[in-house]
Symmetry: C2
Subunit: 308 residues, 2 copies
């Protein structure tokens, strides 16, 4: 579904945030994990089922507060195919609950390989006369280091299925500057990536809010850079990681939005998932804790940014 669908959900909930589903085994409260270890032993299956219950529990608690979830593929892949099987179920559950689903996969490959990834994450594979869908997310994150060849096959899938993608432009981590902040003539590497992203999205087919299908990941930790990129890329929807644990604040992320408070969504993963670790309890309150953290984040951002 296009960014318009996401923006509509954001407006309904007055909340431009997305909850990351990035559960390491140790983020899952013991009462959940122990139950599945008792059933399946100390296995990947036990860990995967525990993460499934945890993620679904989080979504139950957040469904009327947060418009989108962002499952991070790494935390499922680490559990092999059992993890991937659970990831499929997590995405299905999220869609049933009405969340916009951004699969945070950061894939980047070319030609037929990029097509295979696009089919796997957004579309489907033809087997005989049957189209077999894969993970079927609404949106994916991509790495554009290899250039257009890595993005265009996804774009085709997005157009056919009314979906979206986000290209890594400026990431929120400390070492992002090693490559992304190199000076190339009068530009920086990440502003070049920003220009490419803008070009891939184009300005012919804009949604009701003025955005195309190709978003950009813009870390919250460099607010002046976000501000400049918001001006430079008026049709590019921003996914903003780095709020909370990584140091980005509501005052920082406000620059990601346009003057209507549109065009961006801010991620929080550990701040919501691991909120239960700060209540002093045993984790049985993880849903209440996550919901309270998500509401606090919404209100924190609302103090600086009004979604009209």
């Amino acid at each position: 579904m296009s960014f318009e669908v996401l923006q509509d959900k954001i407006r309904r909930m007055k909340n431009p945030t997305v909850a990351g589903l990035d559960a390491r085994v140790e983020y899952v409260p013991a009462f959940i994990l122990d139950k599945y270890i008792a059933q399946y032993g100390e296995t990947r299956r036990a860990a995967a089922e525990a993460i499934y219950e945890f993620d679904c529990g989080l979504m139950d608690a957040l469904q009327d507060v947060v418009p989108a979830v962002k499952p991070q593929a790494a935390y499922f892949e680490m559990l092999g195919w059992e993890g991937m099987e659970v990831l499929e179920r997590v995405i299905r559950y999220a869609k049933e609950k009405g969340f916009y689903v951004i699969a945070d996969v950061k894939r980047g490959d070319i030609g037929t390989t990029a097509t295979a990834y696009a089919e796997g994450w957004l579309g489907g594979v033809q087997v005989g006369n049957t189209l077999c869908t894969g993970f079927d997310a609404d949106s994916v994150t991509l790495n554009g280091y290899m250039g257009s060849d890595a993005i265009k096959p996804f774009l085709k899938e997005c157009q056919q299925r009314n979906k979206t993608l986000f290209v890594l432009v400026h990431t929120s981590n400390a070492s992002s500057l090693e490559l992304q902040d190199m000076v190339c003539g009068d530009r920086l590497v990440y502003t070049v990536m920003g220009d490419l992203t803008s070009r891939w999205g184009g300005s012919e087919e804009l949604d009701r809010y003025g955005y195309n299908r190709v978003g950009a990941v813009m870390g919250a930790t460099y607010p002046s850079d976000i501000r400049r990129m918001r001006e430079q890329l008026p049709h590019t929807f921003f996914l903003v990681p780095g709020y909370g644990a990584q140091g980005g604040t509501a005052a920082d992320v406000r620059y990601a939005f346009d003057r209507y408070g549109h065009g961006a969504i801010v991620n929080s993963s550990r701040g919501i998932m691991c909120a239960w670790k700060k209540t002093g309890g045993d984790g049985t309150d993880y849903q209440e804790a996550a919901r309270a953290a998500a509401i606090a984040m919404r209100d924190d951002i609302a103090a600086y940014t009004t979604v009209i």
Copy 2:
């Protein structure tokens, strides 16, 4: 296993090549696919099992000719968790057959997420007191756009388990120049990535051949660039895609090797996998065709490069 293990295998077979396992459904001969469709219907399971039989058949035919295989994750992910389950079996089968296994995943993420990927592809996840291994490849390909944060967690896993990784430096596709060839002062973006790669590998712990654990992907399609990078990165093992279908020749790839014919491995995917499509048969000769193509590639490269 370190690059020394790979180099030893290469020397035994006098063949510095790796066979890509990148099977789209339509690369699998009909007699294999039809069998599984008869059993499982037109499903992801049918496609995945067909690809498994095809990949194993290829490995049976190549095991005394080619020292390494490079399964491409995209072609398994496109079939959802059933594809990933088959990927695990493909990797296990490859290791049993004595191949060095490079998982071509091109992952790139940071912090605990990079750790999760590293655990999934090279190491294992702790569940209770049990270490549950994931895909357990010998080596992976990575994308360094996010800088050191994306590489270091893998490096730790590599050191603990004597494994290796390859960072995308200069890729073989046409659009690689959009970002990778930007001029940054007296360097290009990809030479900066090359320098970072060299630094991540270091020169303290070199193997018997003089290489560290952090290799570089250097496309065959830019031979003068390979030549310069071979001089600039003396301890960096090269994975060279782009031979054959993408236009790279044996004359081009010779620059990837050091003067002993060490320090590089050249990939062929479609040239070997799809060789059966050129024999005029129905695909039942796919093993003979793949083997003949692999031997022809070996001999082609040997005309320019001698592995001592």
